[in-house]
């Protein structure tokens, strides 16, 4: 976990960009050295330097003004606002279901990944990562999966929630135990995340129905009709009852050129 540690940073670490930029801008704008004439010798140089530094500044202010304003304008528009403000900007998310919530720019990409990128197009559920979306589609929108779990001889169908772990289980309940025991998931985790996705209404604190989610969709019967009915319900798509081909006399679309 987090342990207090000293961080030695190199001088060209991006962390120092702000300070380096400020120093260099200061040099170019404020320190506008005026040429010291060659005529002064080294013995006089110290005196003339002090003269220059007192009178030089005033003449700099007048003569350097134009260059300074031009540089200032360029640096302000370019450096300050574009380069550094990324870390201070907020982005407003307009994708549904976010209703114009603001996020800091630095975490917007993560917000987008977690809320908008991995959505099930069939049932509009939102998942925090692509692995969860894959699991959801496999377990709830895949008829072959339904067929496999319908077989009484079982077999390992339910995979672990973590992409790195390749264990498979016979039932959702077994999987849940695996998650708690091996991967230290909390007891009060939303176990129907795979089914319903993230919920936005917020959770009730006493929502403790952690029992038997994945088992609901298991069809015990080998009967094809039942399985088909189960498919339709889980697939949640509507298909026409009857599909026919060929010309129909009562077809309202008459093709003139056939006549």
């Amino acid at each position: 976990m987090y342990v207090p540690a000293k961080r030695r940073l190199a001088m060209d670490d991006p962390f120092f960009d702000l300070g380096n930029a400020e120093t260099n801008i200061y040099f170019h704008i404020k320190k506008h050295p005026s040429p010291i004439t060659i005529a002064t010798t080294t013995t006089n140089s110290k005196n003339s330097d002090s003269d220059n530094s007192s009178s030089g500044n005033t003449s700099n202010d007048n003569s350097g003004q134009q260059a300074i304003t031009q540089i200032n304008k360029v640096l302000e528009t370019n450096i300050d606002t574009q380069y550094f403000s990324f870390s201070t900007r907020t982005i407003i998310c307009h994708e549904p279901p976010c209703q114009g919530t603001a996020h800091p720019a630095m975490s917007y990409e993560l917000h987008y990944d977690q809320m908008h990128r991995n959505n099930c197009s069939t049932c509009n559920a939102i998942f925090p990562s692509s692995h969860w979306l894959d699991l959801h589609i496999q377990e709830y929108h895949d008829m072959f999966f339904q067929a496999r779990i319908a077989r009484t001889d079982g077999g390992l169908n339910y995979s672990c929630f973590l992409p790195a772990c390749v264990e498979m289980f016979e039932s959702a309940g077994e999987r849940k135990e695996h998650m708690i025991d091996v991967h230290r998931f909390p007891l009060s985790f939303t176990w129907d995340l795979v089914q319903d996705g993230l919920r936005h209404a917020g959770r009730d604190d006493d929502d403790d129905d952690d029992g038997n989610d994945g088992d609901d969709e298991c069809a015990e019967d080998m009967d094809v009709d039942l399985i088909t009915a189960g498919f339709k319900q889980s697939l949640r798509i509507s298909a026409p009852e009857k599909i026919t081909f060929g010309r129909h006399e009562d077809n309202q679309y008459q093709y003139d050129h056939w006549k």
Binding site: P4, L9, G19, L75, N78, M106, F161, L198
Partner: protein, 494 residues
């Protein structure tokens, strides 16, 4: 219809073309300035009054060829030519080099520009030498390919470093400093050509202007990575610079430039090298200068001092402790954290603080007693991402030592750390988890505060679902279970 008389000899540009031209030049100016700002090179800008034609930075191709031809002609006609013409040509060139056009770039890269300028260096009188050096400085301040063209002129620049004329020494050192800022390869080549020793000896200069430029050049030579870094210590740079610091302690510009030398000497250096700097007494003088600095002092004069202090503080615990023990150090940190003038000062001071709070317990106590925690809380609640993160380091370090725990269960503060959980930065996520665990585990009412923060439990659950780090997951799971209390355990048994 026959063309109008004006159109016969004057190239008319439509307003669209003018605008395009102007935008192109503004973009060039912007690009160039970016290189100088971030690479730390320094252009020598000529005040516009000195050159009458430069009220707008607009010129045509024909102007450029004119200048180039003028330069070539005046070189060829050196012995019989007019001094004023040559001076004009050189001065014009130095201005144009501030933002070189395509033709000028070609002239420098392919043409005879460098040869001509070197010719001036070796043969001409003092005035022209200076102007030629000025041109070389500005070429070296440009981007890579242009700056590389100046490298072969180095053997002519080195003798000028020991010239009796301050202005020439100054300008030669300036040009070398710009070259050194270009990159590692350039620095190694400069070192191989023997540029380091003369620049270091220039650090002992009496003239403050020359001193500042010498510091600029030596700082850039001291940038890492460089193979000869130890040589700087062998040449007694810390001792020489420390002596100069004492002499010029009243001149803030000199102090700032000398501080940069120390900043580069201490950056990620070995413990021995940092001890050498501490032993030279430089840090005490720098600290004193910072303490004495006026309240409205520009950030640029304080930043190198803070950088040096930060580099020392990030060393061994003994070194950090040595800093904290120095009078004025702790109040200085507190003062700069509250600095509203410069964001960079605030940010880098927080970095120094985070190193101090990661040190010995007594040092952490010292900072807490100086009243730094309320400022940290304020910063975390109100400031933007980068500064917020820095302050969070310090606060977490202090809390993990066991101090100021009663300040932590503050709803606004907890909300910020919950925000860290949603960050893309893995370090920030770990900090968020650690903080929330601290609040929820150890403190009464901590859990209650957590419940009041909207979205906290969702963020925690999201983290469990998505993180690949087992330790984080274990910690967050324990938190979630504690959040829901004993009901969770009862439910699972059903």
């Amino acid at each position: 219809m026959p063309p109008r008389f004006k159109e016969l000899y004057k190239q008319t540009r439509s307003s669209k073309d003018s605008r395009q031209n102007r935008l192109l030049q503004e973009a060039q100016l912007r690009r160039l300035q970016r290189e100088q700002v971030f690479m730390g090179k320094r252009l020598r800008l000529r005040a516009p009054q000195d050159s009458e034609t430069e009220s707008e930075y607009e010129f045509t191709a024909s102007d450029m060829t004119g200048i180039i031809k003028g330069l070539e002609a005046s070189c060829k006609a050196y012995l019989s030519g007019k001094h004023d013409e040559r001076m004009d040509a050189l001065q014009n060139l130095s201005v144009k080099l501030e933002q070189p056009s395509e033709e000028l770039r070609e002239f420098v890269l392919e043409g005879k520009c460098i040869e001509l300028l070197v010719g001036f260096l070796t043969q001409a009188d003092g005035d022209e030498k200076l102007q030629s050096l000025w041109c070389l400085t500005n070429i070296a301040a440009s981007e890579g390919r242009l700056a590389e063209r100046v490298l072969p002129a180095t053997p002519h620049l080195l003798p000028l470093l020991s010239s009796s004329i301050a202005e020439l020494t100054n300008q030669a050192a300036w040009a070398l400093g710009n070259l050194a800022a270009e990159g590692e390869q350039m620095r190694e080549q400069l070192y191989a050509l023997g540029a380091l020793a003369p620049l270091v000896s220039l650090l002992g200069a009496q003239d403050p202007v020359v001193l500042q430029t010498a510091c600029f050049a030596v700082s850039n030579m001291a940038r890492k990575p460089c193979s000869y870094f130890n040589r700087l210590f062998e040449l007694d740079v810390p001792q020489v610079a420390a002596k100069q610091l004492k002499r010029f302690a009243n001149d803030p510009e000199c102090v700032a430039e000398l501080a940069w030398v120390f900043a580069y000497l201490t950056a990620a250096s070995s413990a021995q090298q940092v001890d050498c700097v501490l032993a030279s007494g430089a840090v005490d003088v720098l600290l004193q200068c910072a303490v004495d600095a006026a309240d409205g002092a520009p950030g640029a004069l304080l930043i190198p001092i803070i950088r040096t202090l930060g580099n020392v503080a990030a060393g061994t615990d003994a070194q950090t402790h040595a800093l904290v023990a120095k009078p004025g150090f702790v109040p200085l940190l507190v003062k700069y954290i509250e600095s509203r003038a410069s964001r960079a000062v605030e940010k880098e001071t927080l970095w120094v603080l985070s190193s101090v709070t990661a040190g010995r317990k007594e040092d952490v106590h010292a900072m807490v007693n100086a009243g730094v925690v309320p400022d940290l809380v304020r910063i975390i609640e109100t400031q933007d991402y980068d500064i917020k993160k820095e302050a969070a380091f310090s606060l977490l370090n202090i809390a993990l030592v066991g101090e100021c725990l009663e300040d932590l269960p503050n709803e606004r503060l907890v909300r910020e750390f919950v925000g860290f959980l949603r960050s893309q930065d893995p370090q920030l996520v770990r900090m968020g988890v650690q903080f929330i665990a601290l609040v929820a585990d150890d403190l009464d009412g901590g859990l209650g505060v957590l419940r009041h923060v909207e979205g906290a439990i969702d963020a925690l659950e999201n983290l469990v679902a998505v993180t690949e780090d087992d330790d984080t997951r274990a910690m967050v799971s324990a938190l979630i279970d504690r959040y829901y209390g004993e009901d969770a355990e009862v439910a699972i048994e059903q």
